[in-house]
Subunit: 152 residues, 2 copies
């Protein structure tokens, strides 16, 4: 784990990132890398790259992509204008889970948020992910909110 490197994702990382999404059956987002789906992912990657408020990261161990996550900076009025950062799409390679990669990712997210003037991290986690909830609570997150979604 000492060799873990976290850096912003590049276009050539995209397939490996989606392969991490593929391993995630719980979220039920239907993510799979194929010739048919590739253009949609490339378009979304380009939109993230263009966005000044979104950053997509990968975690590498020995050159292999073993994790990914996205940070969204959200300027808002609440809390006397406190900038917040939403942590999104945290994925760790299935074979490497429970090995500390998630904790490294979250520590990086918090440092990056603080260094860029944010006052808070927030995230939502599917109610079925009980282990993840305990993990976030151990890291000092408060499970204070209900998370709602409406797909069109």
């Amino acid at each position: 784990m000492s060799g873990l490197v976290i850096r912003e994702a590049r276009a050539e990382d995209l397939e490996a990132i989606i392969r991490l999404h593929e391993e995630d059956a719980l979220g039920s987002h239907g993510d799979v890398w194929s010739p048919e789906t590739r253009p949609a992912y490339e378009a979304a990657f380009a939109a993230i790259e263009r966005s000044p408020e979104n950053r997509l990261f990968v975690a590498l161990d020995g050159g292999e992509i073993v994790g990914t996550f996205q940070l969204t900076f959200i300027p808002n009025l609440t809390g006397r204008g406190a900038l917040r950062v939403k942590v999104e799409s945290v994925k760790v390679k299935a074979a490497r889970r429970s090995g500390g990669i998630g904790a490294r990712i979250m520590a990086f997210a918090e440092e990056h948020a603080r260094a860029n003037g944010a006052a808070m991290l927030e995230l939502t986690s599917n109610k079925t992910r009980k282990n993840a909830h305990r993990f976030y609570e151990r890291l000092g997150f408060e499970r204070s909110h209900e998370g709602f979604k409406k797909k069109f």
Copy 2:
């Protein structure tokens, strides 16, 4: 209610918007409009205005600001690159609650999200806001996630 107008917020609306935040004791965000806090709100308002992915709205009835909310467009890879919109800081003037303003706001948010190519609305709501949760479920939202926050 037929006269309700929803439009993007302007700098001159800022005090009225923060007055709506002031009425909200539940969120415990300590929001209050004063000479001391005004610069922080003005800076946050300017950051929202600059952001291509954030839009702050007000709802007016007869020229009076009776509601506010913010939409954040989040490009991301999950769900085959489905653009999502986070609804943030929904506030309705206390004296005007349960009068349909919230429903009008959420309908506007959904229309605006769809018209701009989003595939999903998401939001979090403090666990103490039981009435709000029933409201969102009536509108077709699924309470599928736990919402975590960590303040620095």
